[in-house]
């Protein structure tokens, strides 16, 4: 027991040193924490698939009562904002090319008469496919509006659908994205902090000084991991606070479990970072190798697009990506209120990555020679 305390005390002094060295520099402090704050605000507002302002152009060739009513419904949603009213079909191309309108609604001249005759009246919607996800969503809304219009006209569907969305009742994309950022945004800094920690000491010559002390490689590894993990978790906390308090997205799960999950996730991230660091000979190399990894990790995490949509071979690769499981875990705990048993599997790949990378880093400390 006494021996353990002695070993732990040595590690503790290394942790204190690492943290002091990191936060002493005011510029460093800013770099460590300001970006998490700014980015989570910026992305919270900017990164959304939800439609609030869709500029559209109207080409109403009928001018009839039914057409006017339908258009009034579209305008009434508050989402669609009429950017221009067209006179002829020649103007359609211009409206879309100039980016002034995301879609053009064309109501044919025989619209009212078709309806009156009890026939199907087509409304043509031309969409700007340069950003097809927004266009697709807008189209869905137009369809919903016309369906609602049809209902009031008595063309009732025999079956009605009662929809309920679990975990995100209004299907707001901010709810999907922001909790994922608790893991996603902190990954970048955690990786960089870990990746630079040994590389910087090597470049500045302090690493030799560290290696001649009685600290064992395992102790050095732990002493270097814990501060980097702490930085990562503090960043996650900042983002969590913004999501919870600023954007007021309700949290369903246990905060304890969330932190347990984050510890598992950051440990794997730090393991990768430290391995890069122990392998790189200069800070520049450490940084470039980190960038080389961060991009694919972000893309293959499910942060933006579902992992399930990827080809099988890519899905296999994602098992080595801690962010995939970090994102999954955070989303499930935060939005779905998942319990430990629900997310237990996520710890397996995270654990495997940590078990490989952390000892690898420790081994490289002594055996990687310049």
């Amino acid at each position: 027991m006494g021996a353990f305390i002695a070993l732990a005390a040595q590690v503790w002094s290394l942790c204190v040193k690492e943290l002091l060295a990191m936060v002493k520099d005011p510029a460093n402090r800013l770099i460590l924490f300001a970006p998490a704050l700014i980015q989570s605000l910026l992305f919270g507002y900017g990164a959304t698939f939800d439609l609030t302002h869709v500029p559209y152009a109207l080409l109403d060739q009928s001018g009839g009562k039914a057409a006017t009513e339908l258009v009034a419904r579209i305008d009434g949603t508050g989402v669609f904002r009429r950017a221009m009213t067209l006179r002829s079909s020649e103007q359609v191309a211009g409206a879309i090319d100039s980016n002034d309108a995301l879609l053009v609604i064309t109501i044919p001249s025989d619209f009212d008469s078709l309806l009156a005759r009890g026939e199907t009246a087509p409304v043509q919607v031309i969409l700007d496919g340069r950003n097809s996800s927004t266009a697709g969503t807008a189209l869905g809304q137009i369809s919903a509006i016309t369906a609602a219009y049809n209902l009031t006209q008595g063309a009732s569907a025999p079956v009605s659908i009662v929809r309920r969305a679990w975990h995100n009742p209004n299907l707001q994309s901010r709810w999907t994205l922001m909790p994922a950022l608790i893991a996603g945004l902190s990954l970048m800094q955690t990786l960089l902090v870990a990746a630079l920690s040994v590389a910087r000491e090597r470049e500045q010559g302090t690493f030799d000084q560290l290696l001649v002390t009685p600290l064992t490689p395992i102790q050095i590894m732990i002493g270097k991991s814990l501060p980097a993990m702490l930085i990562g978790i503090i960043q996650s906390t900042i983002i969590l606070a913004i999501i919870r308090l600023w954007f007021q997205i309700p949290m369903q799960g246990s905060i304890m479990l969330l932190y347990v999950g984050l510890v598992g996730f950051t440990a794997a991230a730090v393991g990768i970072g430290l391995s890069i660091s122990a392998f790189a000979l200069t800070m520049q190399q450490a940084m470039l190798y980190t960038f080389l990894l961060i991009m694919p990790m972000m893309l293959l995490s499910g942060l933006l697009t579902p992992v399930r949509n990827m080809p099988d071979w890519l899905q296999v690769i994602t098992y080595a990506n801690p962010l995939r499981f970090g994102v999954d875990m955070v989303r499930r705990i935060y939005l779905e209120g998942a319990g430990l048993s629900d997310i237990a599997f996520d710890f397996v790949p995270l654990g495997v990555v940590s078990m490989i990378t952390l000892p690898l880093a420790a081994w490289l400390f002594r055996n990687r020679l310049s």
Partner: protein
């Protein structure tokens, strides 16, 4: 003037050699773009296929089974028939299905009365997928019930409005069509943010700039020499992007190829100068890379209209987005790829990008004014 060219040639040779001898630079400059192209092309897709949906039918009547026949027929949905709601909920909790379609036990009875309900529960955790799956479910169920109404022939026909959509520029509605052109923006940004942002900082840290300053060298020569080798790397990346867009992902190139190359080179220059400027201001590789990452790369990914449509963001975010050169390049490159040559857009983008080149060039020049204090 001949002095200018001699010095420039010497510096160019130096920078090119340094670039070619640094393996990590080449990895980031040439390998990472290829990896990204492949990942974006193959890995990233917003398109849903075979989404698993639990179907619970509590009414044994055949009419109930018919009502969900459309789900089995849909190429986008993969129904999983389960016995009761408890099982369905368990599947959904375990993320084995994305939605539950529930036909209550009184479905057939109420169907006859004309007010039957189908309950649809969607997992909203992944909003983008949820919205799309919801759309598919709606149309699958509506399709079946429309067939039904034809058969039963409800009395008093009233004309209905149908929407006839046409997706211009992207008829197949494939996300690769707009992701791959957007990738060009991302890769050009990356070279500036990751590579040139280290260049001046490295010379400060290694002390090589001090000796260089006390020679007849002018700051402009240093800037040009540092930009040109990376312009070449960027040009190779542009070629790789265009070739893979055309031949691997079959993205149409409807506008002028020459203009695509021209605007790409302009944006590349903006990105490289931005990296150099950050490098010159911070004088420290770690800070430079962090600032570059946070001030140029992340915003270019998230706020340039690459994935998210900024029209829906608050004004502040829109203003920030319009301050980014990436936003202007993103708009014009998507237009040139998918819509064709729209001169007004091209001229505007070129003007904005040229202005950025001028401003960033002057700012970078200031950071190299041969002074240590």
């Amino acid at each position: 003037m001949s002095g200018f060219f001699t010095r420039l040639r010497a510096l160019l040779r130096k920078e090119t050699r340094q670039m070619l001898r640094d393996r990590s630079t080449l990895l980031v400059g040439l390998m990472l773009p290829v990896v990204l192209i492949l990942l974006f092309g193959y890995g990233l897709s917003f398109d849903v296929r075979d989404a698993p949906v639990a179907v619970v039918i509590d009414d044994p009547a055949p009419v109930a089974r018919d009502a969900v026949a459309g789900i089995s027929g849909s190429p986008y949905l993969a129904p999983v028939f389960v016995a009761d709601m408890a099982d369905a909920i368990a599947l959904m909790r375990a993320h084995r299905v994305d939605a539950i379609v529930h036909l209550p036990s009184d479905f057939a009875r109420r169907r006859a009365m004309g007010d039957a309900q189908v309950q649809v529960i969607i997992n909203g955790t992944d909003t983008a997928s949820a919205v799309i799956i919801e759309g598919y479910l709606d149309s699958a169920i509506a399709e079946t019930s429309l067939h039904d109404s034809d058969r039963t022939g409800p009395g008093g026909s009233v004309g209905a409005v149908t929407v006839v959509p046409r997706m211009w520029f992207n008829d197949a509605n494939e996300s690769t069509w707009y992701l791959v052109p957007g990738l060009l923006v991302l890769i050009m940004t990356l070279i500036g943010a990751f590579l040139t942002s280290l260049l001046i900082a490295r010379e400060w840290e290694r002390g090589t700039l001090e000796a260089l300053f006390v020679t007849p060298v002018r700051p402009t020569e240093i800037i040009i020499a540092k930009i040109v080798p990376y312009l070449l790397i960027g040009a190779i990346d542009i070629a790789v992007c265009l070739l893979s867009a055309r031949f691997i992902f079959h993205v149409p190139i409807r506008g002028s190829l020459a203009l695509i190359v021209l605007t790409s080179l302009l944006y590349l220059a903006v990105s490289l100068l931005q990296g150099l400027w950050i490098s010159g201001v911070t004088r420290n590789q770690f800070a430079a890379s962090q600032v570059a990452l946070l001030a140029s790369f992340m915003p270019a990914t998230m706020l340039s209209g690459f994935i998210f449509d900024l029209r829906n963001a608050p004004l502040v975010v829109q203003v920030i987005s319009h301050l980014l050169p990436a936003t202007h390049f993103m708009a014009v490159i998507k237009t040139l790829f998918l819509a064709g040559t729209v001169w007004s857009a091209v001229v505007k983008a070129c003007a904005v990008l040229s202005l950025y080149i001028l401003v960033l060039g002057l700012l970078t020049h200031r950071t190299l004014r041969k002074r240590l204090d």
